[in-house]
Symmetry: C2
């Protein structure tokens, strides 16, 4: 396993069933588990296997969610990607020391997964998520 690897690549869609029709039905990617409703964030998500990483399809389910606003402003398409690093605290410290703007100055945790986001202003316009490898 390299030091830094791609965990997933995320696409915002307006209709998850239509999107699955393309990515799985026509193209042939395989589902990784069932669709999850993350009510706290107002989204439904489906993961598809993509070699060692995954493609995440995100459909907003609440008009006031961040993803719904993104979809309204930019349309469907690539939203963010997520890199796995061995030690997230070390990485965040190194990024702060380099003057990189972070959305989360310190790691957050959900379902046992430690993560943080780098601000697009510092990452070539990319919303970059960082995971600590589990």
């Amino acid at each position: 396993m390299p030091d830094i690897s791609l965990n997933h690549l995320a696409v915002v869609v307006d209709n998850l069933n239509d999107a699955l029709g393309f990515w799985c039905g026509a193209l042939g990617l395989e589902r990784a588990g069932t669709t999850q409703s993350i009510t706290g964030e107002g989204v439904d998500v489906a993961f598809l296997n993509l070699g060692d990483s995954r493609l995440e399809l995100i459909q907003p389910t609440a008009d006031d969610s961040g993803v719904a606003r993104y979809l309204a402003r930019r349309g469907p398409g690539l939203h963010h990607f997520c890199l796995e690093v061995p030690d997230l605290d070390n990485m965040l410290q190194a990024l702060r020391d380099s003057g990189v703007e972070l959305i989360n100055e310190v790691a957050r945790e959900r379902d046992g997964r430690r993560y943080a986001f780098v601000h697009p202003a510092s990452a070539s316009g990319v919303l970059l998520e960082l995971y600590e490898r589990m």
Copy 2:
């Protein structure tokens, strides 16, 4: 090797040196070769290793290139990604049969690499490149 894998993920940047300062300098990704100038397309590109796949940084070098227009319209950020398939002609036939809109109805070839693009209208807003595995 799975049937479909991620070859690369591409980000449009306005300044390749600044972008390399973040992705390599601060984050620690490693270069995969040197910067290439693709004069026919009006871009400079740098590839970075990302596990089994690669991150491609693209800077337009001509104001009238498609990538320059994209940068002017959308700003820097995620541009496209590229999946590798075992048999590109079979895949394109299957996609046409499914009513998927292709930018290249038949495979194109450059430097011995066979490729085609799927139109974002059929791929959840994503500009999707397909490579035939070499």
